[in-house]
Amino acid sequence: MAGELQFEKPLNELRQKIDELKRFGQERGIDFADEIARLELRYKSMEDELYDELSPAQKMHLARHQQRPTSLDLIQHIFTDFIELHGDRLFADDLAIVGGLAKLNGVPVTVIGHQRGKDTKDNIARFFGSPHPEGFRKALRLMQQANKFNRPIITLIDTKGAYPGNTAEERGQSEAIARNLREMAIFGVPIVCVVIGEGGSGGALALGVGNRVLMLENAIYSVISPNGAASILWKDASKADQAAEAMKITAKDLLEFGIIEEIVPEPQGGAHRDVVAQAESLKDAIWRHIQELTVMTPEQLTLDRYEKFRKIGTFSTLEDPAETADLQAPQSVNG
């Protein structure tokens, strides 16, 4: 079956068995209705059991599913009158990020998203959704435009991370990401960000400084891809599933950490099973947050966003000076 994931195999095998039985019954004119009904019941309970309690690694595989809706797929269903705008006005048009003007329930907005390719050729043109600096700078340009014309900003996050390449480094990958983080912090318009697939590292965060950050149910968001973490921690990239468990990358984890405001449910089996229904529920969620934010003044919006990120982090302070007595700084290191 196309796009089958390893953990879905038993389910698909049962589906095949049911289909075969139906065909066999038709060909031979035998009535297997009771048997088929029994198998369908079993299928349903197996399906519920499988998708109700997906592990972080299973969610990671769904988030990376080749048929998962991309930013352009969702934009097409959520917005009307989308006008794509190109280029950073400095160097090039990076196709790993798309963006432009659109209407959301009749209201003009700016929408920007990472864009994975639909096939190999498209993926090569779009660098598999991993932006160069010019991609981040295009996004910044469109956001500045939105800020100027007082339009809400909606970003869709779906990238393994910023492109790791010499050309990206030469053109200032770090600076491009850093600048987006700083500038997004002080825009006076509502910003709603949604992690729709994989949110990987600084390349994801560069579109992620919003008043509200939402995640689709099976989306993941982490500081480094689980594959990268596994190769650093255990010198073994194939232990990505294990790293996915340890790194707390699911929407549920991030809601508990207070990083995101809402989990948008997915159709059973993942967003790709029903793109239209997914777009519909995501549209409702985005619209609700935009409406809540639109009543705020520019100053309130900036402050709201600042406070959201300001409080993130866990640390403690040692009370007893004796605990650090053996860790005092040397008085002089040159002496």
Binding site: P164, A178, R182, Y221, R310, F315, N334
Partner: protein, 288 residues
């Protein structure tokens, strides 16, 4: 002259690859760039710059403070802030303890107020010897508080960066420190605050892609590695050999990413000059 000194000892004749275990720990240093062996004390007197080739050795936070801050005097902030293990990440708690023991630090950055050439400043100085200078919640929080203090006290901000990047063991919380520190800088800088960023070897990943690249002035020490993705990751992705000077301070200056490469011996003087440029003197404003 150091070579003459060593000639009488056996070290100078040992092939450079095998010298490590023959050098008495802590007493001698071998330059990783040119192979010259020297007394640690001599090297420290030379500001940890190789007298033969000019290689800048890494400095810990307190060494840096001794070098840059007037009389090495720092009013330290948040001196007892420590990391937690919010994800209960396998091995993190033990690794934190080990890092504290090895470095003598509680986490990867020291912050406080001091003076440079007589100008009061707020400082944040990172230390690579604690967890490769990685940014977790403590580094992010201390730097954010330092920025906020600079704003409250109306003082210039100086950050000395050195970091391997984000602290994986704090996953998403670590990533969000990039947004937190950058947001604090947005406030500070848009209110007119002066921020000088000094990038030291190495400044990579999440630190490079947040506060380190956002200085009003970005300075770097010679040959310091500054970049987002590491050389190995890039070579695996593009399957091409990268130039020797890839991601060095000089490479970054050539590509327009930093303002100036400053030798360690001239760093304090350069910082003092920059601070002076931003100081309006009563006797000078009515000049004409």
């Amino acid at each position: 002259m150091f070579k003459d000194l060593f000639h009488k000892k056996k070290y100078a004749t040992i092939p450079s690859k095998n010298t490590k275990r023959d050098i008495p720990e802590g007493l001698m240093n071998k330059c990783p760039k040119c192979g010259t062996i020297q007394f640690s004390k001599e090297l420290e007197k030379n500001l940890k710059v190789c007298p033969s080739c000019g290689h800048h050795f890494r400095m810990s936070a307190w060494e840096r403070i001794q070098l840059i801050v007037d009389d090495g005097q720092l009013e330290e902030f948040d001196a007892r802030m420590v990391s937690e293990d919010p994800l209960e990440f396998p091995g993190y708690a033990a690794k934190l303890e080990q890092q504290k023991k090895n470095s003598g630090l509680l986490d990867g950055v020291i912050t406080g107020q001091g003076a440079i050439g007589g100008f009061p400043v707020i400082l944040a100085v990172m230390s690579f010897d604690f967890f490769s200078g990685s940014m977790g919640s403590v580094v992010g929080e201390k730097i954010t508080r330092a920025i906020e203090t600079a704003m409250d006290r109306d003082l210039p901000l100086l950050i000395f960066s050195t970091s391997g990047g984000a602290r994986m063991q704090e996953s998403i919380l670590s990533l969000m420190q990039m947004a937190k520190t950058s947001a604090a800088l947005a406030k500070f800088q848009s209110a007119g605050g002066l921020y000088i960023s000094v990038l030291t070897d190495p400044t990579m990943g999440g630190v490079s892609a947040s506060f380190a690249m956002l200085g009003d002035y970005n300075l770097a020490e010679p040959a310091a590695l500054v970049g987002f993705a590491g050389r190995i990751v890039i070579e695996q992705t593009i399957r091409q050999k990268l130039p020797d000077n890839f991601q060095t301070a000089e490479f970054n200056m050539q590509h327009g990413q930093i303002d100036k490469v400053v030798h360690r011996k001239e760093l304090k003087q350069m910082l003092t000059k920059l601070l002076d440029m931003h100081t309006v003197r009563e006797d000078a404003v009515h000049g004409g």
